[in-house]
């Protein structure tokens, strides 16, 4: 698992638990990251402003400021990707964090490979990527310019809505998108509560692009949060 760029990345860990910080430092440094730590939200904001990290790992349950507040303050001046750490029960916190500018989340307890994969995706999306014209994943190919989708070389007929849903997920491959965000992007700001659209259209898309639609490998459901296009790396 190599860092993808020549120079090593700087990661800021904001968490009040010293043990978690230590563990993350060991893991990340072993994987070529440089690490700075902050034990509370205020310090975290200061570190973020002064050290300009490449990625921030933020625990949502901090003693002084809550994670959302930190995110909002951070997003006032920074586009640095933020990976949120949270516990299983707090779906609503996760959604709120994602809707407020977090790039992804990892649920505690987490495995190291998963954390590293998420970090890579977050860093990749932070790149000022030039407009992709095509997307390739497994047998699936999307030609954004020609609005053409092929699976193992065979063209697939998609309705306009199905296409925009697939395009949105594919462009954000690897990243979790909340229901709200997808609905807003595809169906417009008035449809943010109509989750059944998503259920129906995701099921249709799976029928068309997944080899076993009942056990999808690309269009992954994130329980209670949203969907993620899982790209095979």
């Amino acid at each position: 698992m190599n860092p993808e760029t020549d120079q090593s990345r700087l990661a800021l860990i904001i968490d009040d638990e010293a043990q978690i910080r230590r563990l993350l430092r060991i893991t990340l440094e072993a994987n070529g990251y440089k690490v700075i730590e902050a034990g509370n939200g205020q310090d975290g904001l200061v570190e973020a402003a002064t050290r300009r990290p490449d990625v921030i790992i933020l625990d949502l349950g901090l003693p002084d400021l809550d994670g959302l507040t930190i995110l909002k303050r951070l997003r006032e001046w920074s586009r640095t990707p933020v990976l949120v750490l949270s516990v299983r029960e707090s779906d609503e916190d996760k959604i709120a964090a994602l809707d407020n500018g977090a790039d992804d989340y990892v649920t505690k307890p987490f495995s190291t490979p998963e954390l590293l994969a998420r970090l890579r995706v977050a860093l990749r999306h932070a790149q000022p990527a030039e407009e992709q014209t095509a997307f390739r994943n497994g047998g699936l190919e999307i030609d954004f310019a020609g609005r053409l989708v092929t699976l193992k070389g065979k063209p697939i007929r998609l309705t306009a809505t199905e296409y925009s849903l697939l395009r949105l997920l594919a462009r954000n491959a690897g990243k979790v998108l909340t229901h709200r965000y997808i609905l807003k992007e595809v169906w417009g700001p008035k449809a943010t509560q109509e989750t059944h659209y998503l259920r129906v259209y995701v099921a249709r898309l799976r029928e068309k692009i997944e080899s076993t639609p009942t056990q999808p490998v690309m269009l992954i459901t994130e329980a209670g949060i949203g969907y993620r296009f899982s790209a095979s790396e």
Binding site: R88, E89, D91, E92, P109, E194, T195, H196, Y197, R199, V200, Y201, V202, A203, E207, P213, T214, Q215, P216, T221, A223, G224
Partner: protein, 877 residues
């Protein structure tokens, strides 16, 4: 028979009760005088000064010195509570500030002029009610009173002096009071009057001088002295009873007064009260409801008499019976009455055969062991008309018109028929008409029809025609017979009708109580109880009702304007009625009735009457029945809640014990594994052993993670914090997500999924349902041998969808089936590890989503769990 000398149990009980209430309540001392000017206030202030010297905390609640110097001087050194100004129709009056006195809570308060009527808008209309409240609060009270203001004496005073007394106090307030007679000879009083030492309001001067005649004063003095003397006698008796000294008294007298709507009944009430007082016994005011409908005026009078009797200390009993004598005797026997009081009817002499005289002789005859007092009533002697004619009630006029109209119509018919029929047939036609009328009309109109038709028959059809003269003896006889038959039939039939009406009324009343009982019997929650109460009260009394209950801290809850709410709170705290149509805060909009069981005030029923007249005796009786029943149900519900709480407490104790047992073991095992493995790692072993140890650590931590997650889930369910976030879910998605999470634990167990692609969307909380499915899958993994196939399929019915997780393992033990979803329950012989929480979490989460979960054994072997969720109408896309 020898009468046992000594105290009857009843009397002893009463004496003990008296002692007890005395200790809790304040004591009342009344400075009694024959009239104004004898120096009552002075005597009271003197006594107060003495009490203060004795170290008691004395406060003036209200004392009127009328600016006399000697009296003023006596108030010095006594703290006075500022009076409360009450503005009424632009005039500012000052009254005792009851609340301020209650707040100050002295040991002793002085309150002048017990009989005073408070300014309109005060809490109580009468000052003696204020005093009662002070006494109830445990404050002793000194007060002053003139003998003419005592309710039971006011008649006598009127007879002596000719002055009507408006301000009276009920005799009951003197019941436990200490009396101190302030006596002055009439000569001395007249002299003080002449010296201007007696305060007399200017405008009543003339009347007052008429009042202060020596003859009057002598009579009033005698009354005051007699009252004091009677009281001394009673005090001695009380004393002897309390100390069990055998005395010369007979055991328990009990009086019963038959109360009727007659205007003379009021005097009888007072007379009986005086008799009861001098016999020192209890008394009952009884009313027998007969089929005769009372006019509104009579009804009001009856209500007034009975409330007067209540105010004078009587117990009120009402019964209904066709026969007054029966009714009275039934009550008398049931209540062990020794003497009955009835008014002397004014119809003796030539009319002794009339029913009103007859019932009296029957009463005397049938009362056997009970004495009967027949009391002459002032004013009843006046010669009354031979035939007492009651003006028909407002509503009856149309009936008279109808009666006359029908008789007229029949006459016309008869005139038409006259050429064909004889005069006797005409008579029968008339008779038929009268009988028909009797079915529909009241008695009066029927009599009118009978008389009218008789006369018309005679005049128009009995020869010689067009005269009232009857020629033949036979015709005369026919006429007489006709008259008797018509009146008798009319009377009988209309009486039957009246009885039927009464029966119907009684039945309605019984039905109302029955309905209340029935609906309250079905009610199991507070909401249902409230609904049943309000429905029934509103239906039966045509009044808007509200139920006001205290909260957990015992404070009454209600959203009402201050004035209304304070009446409700007063009712709740004193367990006595208040508000409209009562003596307390009568200016409020609604009536407040206490809901109480013995000793406990449970709440208040608010009644906003639509009618403008006070509730009738009948309504009050029924209301009493309602209140008792409602109070019982509220009490029952409260007890049930207490019991439930106790049960919940015991259950939670049992659970925490089970929790501790299960958790301590389940926590320690993986912790021990981690500890041992990690310490071994540090000692540097070869790579394969290291890998194995790392694997152990991971497994242990996973197990810990699951345990903690389970405990947290359980805690969420227990604390009621599971708020499902309902959203449209795809069942495929749900099952996939669950399988993905449970996957590693299902190792070697082939999972077959059979779901039609067109499965409907389900409205549920995705995360909760996912967790429930994961737990079901883990359950299957834990309790089946490796390699056992697991099946997942769904069944869609009309309004439900079932998700079924089934295995081909050993199945569930029969005794485990009913308990399998209980917390910490582990089936006998279950593999080690696990807390018995998983399935109870499944149950909690599924139920939070509005569904239910069941466990079965499959006929062909293996266990089967079914999660059933309600299906909503599918959304359109």
């Amino acid at each position: 028979m020898m009468r046992t000398e000594g105290t009857s149990p009843d009397e002893l009980l009463a004496a003990l009760k008296k002692e007890e209430t005395r200790r809790k309540r304040g004591t009342l001392k009344v400075f009694l005088g024959m009239c104004a000017g004898v120096g009552k206030t002075y005597a009271m202030l003197e006594a107060a000064q003495k009490a203060k010297r004795d170290g008691r905390d004395v406060v003036i609640g209200y004392v009127e010195t009328h600016g006399r110097k000697e009296t003023d001087a006596l108030t010095e050194g006594l703290e006075a509570i500022a009076r409360k100004p009450v503005v009424y129709r632009g005039v500012t009056l000052t009254e005792m500030d009851l609340d301020a006195v209650l707040k100050r809570h002295p040991q002793l308060t002085l309150v002048d002029e017990l009989a005073h009527t408070n300014a309109s808008g005060s809490r109580h209309p009468k000052r003696h009610q204020d005093v009662q409240e002070l006494l109830d609060a445990g404050i002793d009270v000194y007060t002053t009173l003139n003998v003419q203001h005592i309710e039971s004496r006011s008649d006598t005073v009127r007879e002596i002096t000719g002055a009507t007394i408006h301000e009276t106090v009920p005799d009951t307030i003197l019941g436990d009071a200490e009396l101190e007679l302030v006596d002055l000879s009439p000569e001395d009083l007249l002299q003080r009057l002449a010296e201007g030492k007696v305060y007399i309001p200017e405008r009543t001067e003339a009347a007052i001088h008429n009042f202060f005649r020596e003859g009057n004063l002598i009579a009033l003095r005698e009354m005051a002295l007699r009252l004091a003397a009677e009281r001394v006698g009673q005090d001695v008796r009380d004393y002897m009873q309390a100390r069990r000294i055998a005395g010369p008294w007979k055991t328990g007298h009990r009086l019963l007064l038959a109360v009727s709507p007659s205007p003379y009944s009021e005097q009888l009430v007072r007379w009986t009260r005086r008799l009861a007082d001098s016999l020192s016994c209890t008394w009952i005011a009884a009313h027998v409801e007969t089929p005769r409908m009372l006019s509104e005026e009579e009804q009001n009078r009856l209500t007034r008499h009975l409330s007067l009797a209540r105010a004078l200390g009587a117990e009120i009993r009402a019964t209904s019976d066709d026969d007054v004598v029966h009714g009275i005797l039934r009550i008398a026997r049931g209540q062990n009455v020794t003497q009955i009081v009835v008014g002397k009817p004014d119809v003796f002499g030539p009319l002794r055969f009339l029913p009103s005289a007859l019932w009296l002789s029957r009463l005397v005859r049938e009362s056997s062991g009970i004495d009967v007092h027949i009391v002459r009533v002032e004013g009843a002697d006046a010669p009354r008309r031979f035939w007492s004619w009651r003006m028909p009630a407002e509503g009856e006029w149309p009936q008279y018109l109808k009666a006359a109209g029908i008789v007229g119509t029949v006459t016309l018919l008869n005139l038409l028929l006259a050429p064909f029929l004889g005069p006797h047939a005409m008579g029968l036609i008339y008779l038929a008409a009268v009988v028909a009328l009797a079915v529909f009309l009241n008695r009066g109109p029927v009599y009118l029809a009978a008389v009218l038709s008789a006369l018309l028959w005679d005049f128009l059809f009995l020869p010689p025609l067009v005269t009232f003269y009857i020629g033949k003896v036979e015709d005369a006889m026919m006429f007489a017979m006709y008259f008797i038959v018509a009146v008798a039939m009319g009377h009988l039939i209309s009486r039957l009708g009246a009885r039927e009406r009464m029966d119907r009324r009684r039945e309605e009343r019984a039905a109302a109580i029955y309905m209340l009982t029935l609906e309250l019997g079905d009610a199991s929650t507070w909401k249902e109880i409230e609904r049943a109460v309000l429905n029934n009260v509103e239906r039966s009394f045509k009044a808007k009702a509200a139920l006001m209950l205290p909260d957990a801290t015992g404070r009454l809850q209600g959203d009402l304007p201050d004035k209304e709410f304070s009446a409700a709170v007063w009712t709740y705290e004193h367990a006595r009625p208040a508000g409209r149509f009562t003596d307390t805060l009568p200016m409020t909009e609604a009536m407040y009735l206490p809901l109480r069981t013995t000793g406990n005030s449970l709440g208040v029923l608010r009644l906003h009457w639509k009618q403008t007249s006070p509730p009738t005796i009948e309504q009050r009786n029924m209301l009493d029945g309602f209140l008792r029943h409602i109070a019982l149900v509220i009490d029952r519900q409260r007890l049930r809640e207490v019991k439930d709480q106790a049960r919940v407490l015991a259950e939670s104790e049992r659970l925490s014990h089970a929790l501790l047992n299960a958790v301590s073991h389940e926590l320690r095992t993986p912790l021990a594994a981690i500890e041992t493995a990690s310490s071994s790692l540090q000692s540097g072993l070869d790579a394969t052993v290291q890998d194995a140890l790392i694997g152990e650590i991971r497994q242990a931590s996973e197990r810990l993670n699951r345990l903690v997650a389970n405990l947290l889930d359980m805690a969420r369910i227990e604390s009621g914090h599971v708020k499902p976030h309902l959203d449209w879910c795809d069942v495929h998605d749900l099952i996939n997500a669950a399988l993905k999470r449970a996957g590693s634990h299902l190792a070697n167990r082939p999972v077959s999924i059979d779901i039609s692609p067109s499965a409907p969307l389900v409205r549920a909380d995705f995360s909760l349902m996912e967790q429930a499915l994961v737990d079901l899958l883990l359950n299957a993994a834990m309790h089946t041998p490796a390699g056992t196939p697991v099946e997942i399929h769904i069944e869609v019915k009309d309004r439900t969808i079932a998700i079924i997780v089934a295995d081909r393992g050993p199945g569930l033990a029969a005794e485990a089936l009913p308990r399998i979803f209980e917390k910490f329950y582990r089936a006998p012989g279950a593999a080690a590890g696990g807390t018995g929480l998983g399935l109870s979490i499944v149950k909690g989460f599924v139920e939070a989503n509005g569904g239910h979960v069941q466990a079965f054994n499959r006929p062909a072997g293996g266990a089967m769990f079914t999660i059933t969720l309600p299906l909503q109408e599918q959304p359109t896309v």
